[in-house]
Each structure stands twice: as C-alpha cells, then as structure tokens.
C-alpha cells in the first residue's frame, strides 16, 4: 500500500490582481487558493489511495497565511497534512522551496510516491518538483497526464511536443502532473467537517537541518501592461457594420 505525498502551494488567485493607474501591481483585494495544478496532484494522490490503499499526506511550505490551504487540502481527501511554516517563508524561490521540502520529507515522512503540480499558478517556474526529486535522489517524471501503480513500479504518460511518452520507473519516485490527469473535486460540507478532525503537523524553521538562502532574487515585479482602449460598437446592424469599417481602416479585409 503506497505512502503518497502531495505537495501544494497556497497562492494568490491571479484573477483578483488589478493594476493601479500608475502601472503598479494592485494586490490589495486578492484572495488565495491552492495552486491550480496542485489540486490535480492532491486529487490524483487521493484517487491512487482509494484504488490501492495507503495514505496521503499533503505537504506545504509558507507563512501562516497558508492555514486555510491546509483545511482545503484535507477536505480534498488527504489523510493528514504537514505545514512547514515561518514568517520568512514568504516569496520563497524554487531552490529554497525544494530544499525545505526535501529537508522535511527526507527526514520525517515515509513515502513511496511524491506528487506535485507541474507548476504553480503564481510563478509557474516548474522547478520545485524536479529539484525536489534531485535533492531526494529519486527518479522524476514530469508533465504526466496519466499515472498507474503496479506493485513497486509506476507507469506514466508524459506529454511531449510531438505526443506522449510512456515511461516506467520504480518507487520511490516523484511525478509532476498536468491538469489533464483528472478533474479535482469540489469539497462538500461533509468533506470540510471531516477535514477539521484530521491531523496537522506544524513545523518551523528550527526543525530544518539547514538555512536556505535565496539564490534567485526578484529585483522587480510590475504589472504587465496589456490594456488597450476598447472602442465599443453596438450589437445591432449599424454597430457591426461600424466594427467592420474600423477593421477595413486598420488594413484588414484586403
């Protein structure tokens, strides 16, 4: 029965990001969420557990803001959660996140399979999964859209530009998943109530064996200006004809 870890990140929901008139990023009214593809990772872990037995541990690194994310992950079916929390774990870069995860997973959590989302919704660097596998010295298969376990081996269908590569490896291993792999559940009231009873282990910086300094520094974060001044036309005949005239004037339809 496989011991499965699903890693997730609690991120700003990019749909709430606004731009100030002066072109700055406006994060004042943002909400947070479990990063999109990490929901697929949790779902896949739960699906595999339901099929083969075993356990699912959801693991995240971040500041105390992530507390809500733990409950969300547990209501999605994980059996327990590990929260590696510190006020300084804000804006970690991928080498730090993977080092912290490796530190904790390598020393405290038994596992056969680790699942991660292919990339996070906020920074989408797609580094943490592969880096974590390297740190732990286990095989890595990324961009997986179909996964099966048989005994101590896994078969994974990985997306490549020309199609699909079917890969096999033995456990323990790390797999990153794409959103095609499943449709994450929407937790119901009962799931949320059950989640409140599940075990959460909270660890801090003092529980890590070494400090993780950033090597990639963010020296600027600005709103990407894509706004255009939209000229609106009516949905009636004169409006539509007006739009087409504008397109002709722009040099199309020639």
């Amino acid at each position: 029965m496989p011991a499965i870890i699903a890693c997730f990140k609690w991120v700003i929901d990019e749909a709430y990001i606004r731009r100030t008139p002066s072109g700055e990023l406006d994060l004042r009214s943002v909400d947070f969420k479990i990063s999109d593809y990490d929901r697929n990772a949790i779902e896949e872990a739960v699906r595999l557990r339901d099929e083969h037995g075993g356990t699912v541990v959801a693991v995240t690194v971040g500041t105390s803001d992530g507390t809500r994310g733990l409950k969300d992950a547990l209501s999605r079916g994980a059996d327990r959660a590990v929260f590696i929390r510190d006020a300084s774990f804000d804006n970690l870069e991928p080498s730090q996140t993977s080092a912290i995860l490796a530190d904790v997973i390598g020393s405290r959590i038994t596992y056969d399979l680790i699942l991660c989302g292919e990339g996070s919704s906020d920074l989408y660097t797609r580094q943490v999964g592969p880096r974590l596998a390297e740190r732990l010295g286990i095989p890595c298969i990324s961009c997986v859209q179909k996964l099966t376990i048989e005994g101590d081996r896994i078969t994974a269908e990985r997306k490549v530009e020309w199609g699909i590569e079917v890969l096999e490896t033995s456990l323990p291993a790390l797999v990153t998943v794409t959103p095609d792999i499943n449709s994450p559940r929407i937790p119901g009231v009962r799931d949320t109530l059950m989640a409140a009873k599940k075990e959460v282990t909270t660890l801090g910086k003092e529980d890590l064996s070494q400090a993780c300094e950033p090597v990639l520094r963010t020296v600027g974060m600005a709103a990407a200006g894509m706004e255009r001044r939209c000229i609106k036309f009516g949905a009636d005949e004169p409006g539509i004809a007006g739009l087409v005239r504008a397109l002709v004037k722009e040099g199309f339809l020639r």
């Binding site: 797609r126 890595c140 530009e161 397109l247 002709v248």
Partner: protein
C-alpha cells in the same frame, strides 16, 4: 573557466539560443558551447552560427528518455564552470534544466523573455512573466552558473557567418536512466499552425456546443484566417486539438487581427495574444476582462452578432478594389 552553454531539442531551437548566447558572450567576452545529442549532426552549422565548441553526447538507446543526459551535462558544467546555461523551454527541457540547476546548486530563471548582461555590474538581468501573465518579474541570480530556460520562438535564429572555427568534442555516455521509455504515441497534429496566422478567430467558453464551431470557422474563412480556442474548449470539452489552444500553457499567437468570440479574457489566455496588433472581442458580459485588452468590442450574444459580422465582412471584401 567561463562561457555560455546551450541545450535544445532541435536545430531551430538551438539556432535561436545561439543568437541569445552569442549576444551575451560578446558582452561578457566569453565563448559559447552547444550540447548536441545526435552524433555530430549539425555541428558545422552551429559553429558557423556562433558556437565555439560543440559537445557531442552519444546517442541514447531507444528506451532511454532524453533526461538521461542530465548527469553528463551536470558533470560537464561542473568542469567547465560556465556563467550561463541556456535551455530551450520544451516540456522535457524545462525538467532537465531544473534538475541540472539542482545538481549544480544554483538558481534558474524559467521562461525568460528578455535578458541583458550589465557590463558594469557584471550581472545578468532577466525578465519573465508571473501571475499568469499579469505581472512582469525581473530576476537576477547570485550563484553561477545561472540556468535560463527560453520558450521556443522567443528570439530570432542566429545566422551563419563566414569562416568561423570551433572545436568538436565527444562527451562520455550517460549512466543508465532509472526511468525507461516503454512506448511513444505520436499525436495527430492540427492541420494548420496558428502561430504564424495573420488573422486568428478564437472560440471561447461562450460556445454552447461543438457544432457551433462552424460559425467560428465561417468567420475565420471570411477573414482568411485560422481558428484558435481557449483552454476550456480544447482541454475540457476536447472540441478542438490542443495545438489550437492559445495562452500561457498553449501556443502564443501574433496575428494582425485577433477576434475573440465568447472569450472571457482570463489572464493566461490574454498572455498568448499580447503580440496581436488588433484585438477584437464579442462577449455577452460587458464586464468580461477581454474588453480591457481589446481595441474593439461588441457587448452582445455571439450567436446574434457573428452571422451578421460574417455578412458585413463579405460585403466589405466585395467592395474592396481588386489587386491593389
């Protein structure tokens, strides 16, 4: 030791990274090496296009995945101690780059869109998108080498120059990979490549059923353009192949004219059309974010608007003088 190292999956991508690598190398005053994995294929061309060295990795057996090369590249990078490693951001390239960065204990800039070596400060400044394309993140790396992945078709390919010389060197075979390839399935590719289309008509979530795509096709045809779609149409409904999915996780298009029909304008999609010259949108919801990034818009039901739009486009086309 110093230098720039390049790894890509094919010739086109390699030439593109050679352009980038050559530019930085000339400011840094250093050399460019290219990893190749198909015997000596293309080595002479790469040298002509700016490589100072071609590092030939022995071919892999059929059941070895491409990332089997990671240990060989890591060993070579440890020896050569390059300043920068450029990797084409293909699906496999991204994983290989991240694993290489982990092995070299260094930082990595994923999906870099622009990079500039500041001679005075001696720092490589890199730009990338964050928050689904809503933000531009600028990063620098405090360790070396800095690993940089670049999405294919971000830069122009390098051109060959006369009489360049370079070294061709064989690298050792990689150790057996713990991951084995047991099958390959080629996908059917879309008949047309929308990345170079002059006009793109995009189907969004506002399309109710697959048959209604005919309406989108008719408009595309009237405009002499191609059909694209948003993520829900290809990935959730599977009404169109994923090669036509426009956005951060799909393809980027740069047409003269883009028309979004029933497209809400989520930031991930909008990022894929940022280089369109003119953006046009038809959507029922007047608050749809697509209108913030559009040049022209119609608030209305696409099922009412599009048939009329097709008529008007046909009329306008008839009124155009023939052969200008």
């Amino acid at each position: 030791m110093a230098g720039i190292q390049i790894f890509a999956e094919n010739r086109e991508q390699t030439l593109e990274l050679l352009r980038v690598g050559r530019d930085i190398a000339s400011t840094m005053g250093t050399k460019v090496s290219v990893y190749v994995c198909k015997a000596r294929d293309g080595a002479d061309e790469y040298i002509a296009c700016g490589a100072d060295a071609v590092l030939v990795m022995p071919p892999l057996s059929d059941d070895e995945p491409l990332d089997a090369y990671v240990p060989v590249m890591a060993d070579e990078a440890k020896q050569a101690d390059p300043d920068v490693i450029l990797v084409a951001a293909t699906l496999r390239g991204k994983e290989m780059a991240a694993r290489l960065a982990a092995r070299l204990n260094t930082g990595m800039c994923s999906d870099c869109m622009a990079l500039d070596f500041e001679e005075g400060e001696g720092i490589l400044k890199m730009e990338r998108l964050a928050y689904g394309g809503a933000a531009l993140q600028r990063v620098t790396c405090t360790t070396r080498p800095v690993v940089v992945t670049i999405m294919p078709r971000t830069f122009e390919p390098a051109e060959s120059r006369e009489r360049r010389r370079g070294e061709i060197r064989e690298l050792p075979a990689p150790p057996p990979s713990p991951v084995k390839v047991v099958g390959r399935k080629k996908k059917e590719t879309a008949a047309r490549d929308i990345r170079e289309a002059k006009v793109v008509v995009c189907a969004g979530r506002g399309i109710d059923k697959k048959e209604d795509l005919a309406l989108i096709r008719d408009l595309a045809e009237a405009l002499g353009g191609e059909v694209g779609c948003t993520r829900p149409v290809s990935e959730e409904q599977h009404w169109l192949p994923e090669d036509l999915c426009i956005g951060l996780s799909g393809v980027s298009v740069k047409p003269g004219l883009y028309i979004g029909l029933g497209v809400s304008g989520q930031v991930q999609h909008v990022t894929g059309i940022r280089d369109a010259k003119v953006i046009c949108a038809v959507n029922k919801d007047e608050n749809a974010p697509i209108f913030n990034v559009a040049n022209y818009g119609i608030v209305g039901d696409l099922y009412d608007v599009v048939p009329q739009l097709i008529e008007e486009v046909k009329k306008a086309a008839l009124n155009q003088p023939l052969a200008e």
